[in-house]
């Protein structure tokens, strides 16, 4: 167990205030149940997401650096946790750019000075994902000990999406042997849900693209990509797809509906955030985990499996 993960700066990001609200609710509830503390980053801003990055990557680096600057300098945090793959990816990328690119450092210095806050320096803070937070803050053994409502009998396809592990060079802590996360075969979510009693199925599309980046410009391709992921999960025997990214999650949910309406292709696999599944295992009520906010009817599945 890493002591520094017991209390971390929390960067929810924009999606967790909107479509991913249930992810925010369930992340906080699981932290509460496990005794892991979250201090929300004060006055946080957008990480730069895809939009800013496409216009000016250096400005995206600055936006992410401001979040890290507040956490490091104003909150004296050593660790910042971002549950959203996009935020996590962008903070890690900013960290990498500031460590390796002089021009990025100059731009961040210039804008930070103009904005009147301390400039973030690479290495001042550790950025982690919600999966790291629970995996290394509690660990599987302790998690098993705290399970009140085993997920036994629930077959889960773990879907990580494409930004959690890519590009590899911005995640130097991954692929470091036993105990570390793998970029080609991520397993932290599998490990945590197995500790909670779930049966993980072999799911070869766990890091495949969900088409989230062109969901507006080319919805049909996104729908077909999602439909393929849903079909693969069903073919693998999964009852539910566990997610750890609000963009992937809402994409899977919305395109499942769209696939049925537009393509006449019905799939029945459900989607739940991994934090919702862990919360259920820890005895938290589905309502406190925001299960009712999901588009996919996770509540019916939980009832069917006698988990509520």
């Amino acid at each position: 167990m890493k002591q520094e993960y017991q209390r971390v700066a929390y960067y929810p990001g924009c999606a967790l205030e909107g479509t991913g609200h249930a992810y925010d609710t369930s992340t906080r509830a699981v932290g509460n149940a496990l005794g892991l503390q979250l201090d929300e980053v004060r006055d946080w801003n957008c990480c730069g997401a895809m939009e800013v990055k496409n216009v000016d990557p250096k400005v995206q680096t600055y936006l992410s650096s401001r979040v890290m600057s507040i956490a490091a300098h104003e909150m004296d945090a050593k660790v910042v946790m971002a549950p959203c793959n996009g935020c996590y990816h962008n903070l890690k990328k900013a960290e990498y750019d500031l460590a390796h690119d002089g021009e990025s450092r100059q731009v961040v210095e210039r804008i930070s000075t103009k904005a009147g806050h301390a400039t973030y320096r690479a290495g001042s803070l550790e950025t982690i994902h919600a999966l790291d937070w629970i995996k290394d803050g509690i660990g599987e053994d302790e998690l098993k000990r705290r399970v009140k409502n085993s997920l036994a009998g629930l077959k889960v396809a773990n879907y990580y999406g494409c930004m959690y592990t890519r590009p590899r060079h911005i995640f130097p802590e991954k692929d470091q042997g036993p105990g570390s996360e793998s970029t080609s075969q991520p397993h932290f979510m599998d490990d945590l849900l197995a500790a909670a009693g779930a049966e993980n199925v072999d799911f070869p599309l766990k890091t495949a693209c969900c088409g989230g980046a062109h969901t507006l410009s080319d919805s049909d391709t996104s729908t077909k990509l999602v439909l393929n992921i849903l079909r693969a999960a069903e073919a693998a025997g999964a009852d539910v797809i566990a997610t750890e990214c609000p963009t992937c999650h809402s994409g899977l949910e919305m395109h499942q509906v769209r696939a049925e309406k537009v393509l006449g292709e019905k799939t029945t696999v459900r989607m739940l955030y991994f934090t919702q599944l862990l919360g259920i295992a820890l005895g938290v009520s589905p309502r406190k985990l925001g299960v009712h906010e999901n588009v996919s009817d996770g509540l019916a599945l939980l009832k069917e499996k006698n988990l509520t």
């Binding site: 890519r166 599309l205 495949a208 080319d218 073919a235």
Partner: protein, 157 residues
């Protein structure tokens, strides 16, 4: 290392048919060869659309992986299909090593889904990159297989 020649397979712009799992007896070695070839053809389209000649080399025994590496050169976001390609290679090997395994039909179906995902991904990337839709870019392939009503001619040809 040069890749082994694969059985020529008709190109499918819409991806492999995804139906119910086939009966064990129907899992033939040519099925995995055909699927691997279709995956390679998808990457060939991406590479040709970027005005390059698809490599004939293999990486780790697979031309598919060499094609992916070539396709990702200068296009880092193309790495989002790296694991899909590796999973296709893995399922190809599984089907080859254990053709009589009770799970062979399931593995073949998974390989179909993986190849379809790769084709959809390439299709989306072509469109986003302004290189055309997969069906247009794959016109030479369809002309080759006799399924293109235009006979491979473009509008201005």
């Amino acid at each position: 290392m040069t890749a082994p020649a694969h059985t020529a397979a008709p190109a499918r712009a819409t991806g492999p048919a995804i139906g119910p799992a086939v009966a064990p007896a129907a899992v033939a070695m040519t099925d995995r060869e055909q699927l691997l070839r279709e995956a390679e053809q998808a990457l060939e389209q991406w590479i040709r659309a970027r005005a390059q000649e698809p490599t004939r080399q293999a990486s780790e025994g697979f031309r598919l992986l060499a094609l992916h590496r070539q396709g990702a050169r200068g296009a880092p976001s193309f790495n989002a299909c790296r694991e899909t390609c590796r999973e296709i290679a893995y399922h190809y090997n599984l089907l080859g090593l254990e053709a009589d395994h009770p799970q062979a039909p399931h593995r073949l179906r998974m390989m179909q889904l993986l190849v379809r995902h790769l084709q959809l991904f390439v299709s989306g990337k072509l469109e986003v990159a302004g290189l055309g839709e997969f069906c247009c870019s794959s016109r030479p392939l369809r002309a080759e297989s006799g399924s293109d009503p235009t006979g491979g001619k473009t509008d201005d040809a």
